[in-house]
Symmetry: C2
Subunit: 335 residues, 2 copies
């Protein structure tokens, strides 16, 4: 049995979208998967009653009477609200009563609680958020998507390893390529940290490092004539670009809706809009902690929650956490 | 008379697109404007002969037999090729024989040569590239777009002043708003440099600083309920986002072309595609040097060159360089 804990109080429209997302996910997942809805029991039961579609035999409701708000300070929230859905959901995993945790709640609180409760794998210096960017080709995993604003070169090398394991296990990429986000392809480009990281990455065995890549390569999904699987950057740059991309996609779709609304209904446009549609991608993994944690947008619709559950399921099935532990224990990653 | 020097050897399709862009620009500019085409005289004359449309009485061809290649190292190119179109074009302005310089050539060489030959205004610590981002509202000026990869907090404050003057003089924004690019709106967000810059900007008189803004605000063209005019960031982040945006727009248009090509022909789509179309914007000013310098993409079509000339004309007419000198000499900007 594989148990996925879902923070039912996280999203802007909690717990309804979480309940609906869970119900949809269970229709697609094999029978061995169960979902633990964590949050205010009465609210969850009411939402389950409204939705009606859920396979109740595969859903467990885990009561967590406290809720971390979007405005709460992360550490204070974790310490002050030990019975919040975030703390309770992660504690299940810590106690081996759950295999994954998904939340669309306060990202800072999920980060802090995950690191405190699950701890990092030995050898991992920082956990990173892996953000999947739609592209003209395959999606590109960019990390860090915002967990760490100041990073040194060795931490960026760590992100390259974390991203490579995730790309293999969850995205199904064999020998995934890794690029370092920079402002040019040449060796001498970049700020001090990035220049040092480039030299370190070139010397690191076990990575398929293809060199410096640029912002333009991400939407294309290719760099230096190869498919681009993993892009490494600090969490400041990653977060700015991530939010920029999401917003640019939304703006573009809303402009079409205003100017030529029928265009959006055209079936051929489905393949185009998919590139702009974050709901398809669902959740961003927090990589480096001992366990599986998926972070969703506060504005996630039920489809995004469903997809985050699918991603969590794949992470558990592929033994992502064990594989990350192995990657960092084999002496490949410099301390 | 206002004379605009145009590097005729800069773009990927030089000198043809430069000659065509100049011819088109002259049709729209008042009679007082003249264009100096700088480069290999024979090549320029041949291109002028092919185009035929140019008003020759308003075009001067200035011979510059050397060409800086895209692969040349900036400083070595400037020192080793004193008769290049970049060096000759900027030297005209230094000697007051020209009022502006435009180049689609090697950006690093244009940056280095501009700083060396024209020098910075007193009080300006670093020149910055102002990149105009299309948005759902008015275009947003983001700087630095790539001239400086490592910036300290005071330099970011300097960029806020440079951008504000440009937004007033060239974009016609009164009391332009300034946002600091960050990963959240709260005071405590950001890396060390950005946090310090936020505190400095809040205390700086003479700026309409509206606080931290996020990547998502740029495509919308608004932040905190106000029109967003100027966004300040270091050149690493700015360059990554700039290249990302250009590429995302291209990818999106090419996907529509592949899936539903007739959609692009729809007249209502014009307003949508404009948001993705860099050619409309043309050139990025190099702000902080004593003079007017506009940098264009190597891949610029004639329309982008034409628009860069229009931007240069507006910068000269509005006395941009004098206004920047005044902004930095009035004791507003801390040294």
């Amino acid at each position: 049995m594989i148990r996925i804990a879902l923070d039912a109080m996280g999203s802007d429209n909690a717990p309804q979208v979480e309940v609906e997302g869970a119900a949809e996910a269970l229709k697609e997942l094999p029978a061995e998967f169960q979902i633990q809805l964590v949050g205010r029991k009465a609210d969850i039961e009411a939402a389950l009653g409204r939705s009606g579609a859920a396979d109740r035999a595969r859903i467990e409701v885990v009561d967590a009477p406290e809720v971390v708000g979007m405005g709460d300070k992360p550490l204070a929230a974790i310490r002050g609200k030990p019975r919040s859905s975030i703390a309770v959901g992660l504690d299940l995993q810590k106690k081996r009563k759950s295999d994954a945790f998904i939340s669309a709640g306060n990202t800072g609180a999920v980060l802090a609680a995950s690191t405190l409760l699950l701890r990092l794998h030995p050898g991992v210096q920082r956990a990173a958020i892996g953000a999947l960017f739609p592209s003209a080709g395959q999606p590109v995993l960019v990390l860090d998507g915002g967990a760490n604003v100041d990073c040194d070169a060795r931490e960026l090398v760590g992100f390259a390893h974390l991203g490579s394991v995730y790309a293999r296990d969850v995205l199904g990429r064999s020998n995934p390529t890794v690029g370092l986000l920079n402002i040019g392809e040449e060796d001498e480009k970049g700020n001090a940290v990035v220049k040092e990281a480039h030299q370190l990455l070139k010397q690191t065995p076990g990575l398929n490092y293809i060199g410096n890549v640029e912002g333009r390569d991400i939407p294309v999904g290719e760099a230096r004539g190869q498919r681009l699987d993993v892009v490494v950057c600090d969490g400041f740059v990653g977060n700015v670009v991530l939010k920029f991309y999401e917003s640019a996609g939304r703006v573009f779709v809303s402009l079409i809706k205003r100017e030529a609304p029928d265009v959006l209904q055209r079936p051929e446009m489905g393949n185009v809009l998919k590139v702009l549609d974050y709901a398809t991608y669902g959740g961003a993994p927090l990589l480096g902690v001992q366990g599986v944690v998926i972070i969703c947008h506060g504005a996630s619709p039920a489809e995004a929650i469903k997809n985050a559950i699918r991603v969590a399921a794949q992470a558990v099935r592929s033994h992502l956490s064990d594989d990350i532990a192995a990657e960092f224990s084999e002496g490949k990653v410099p301390a």
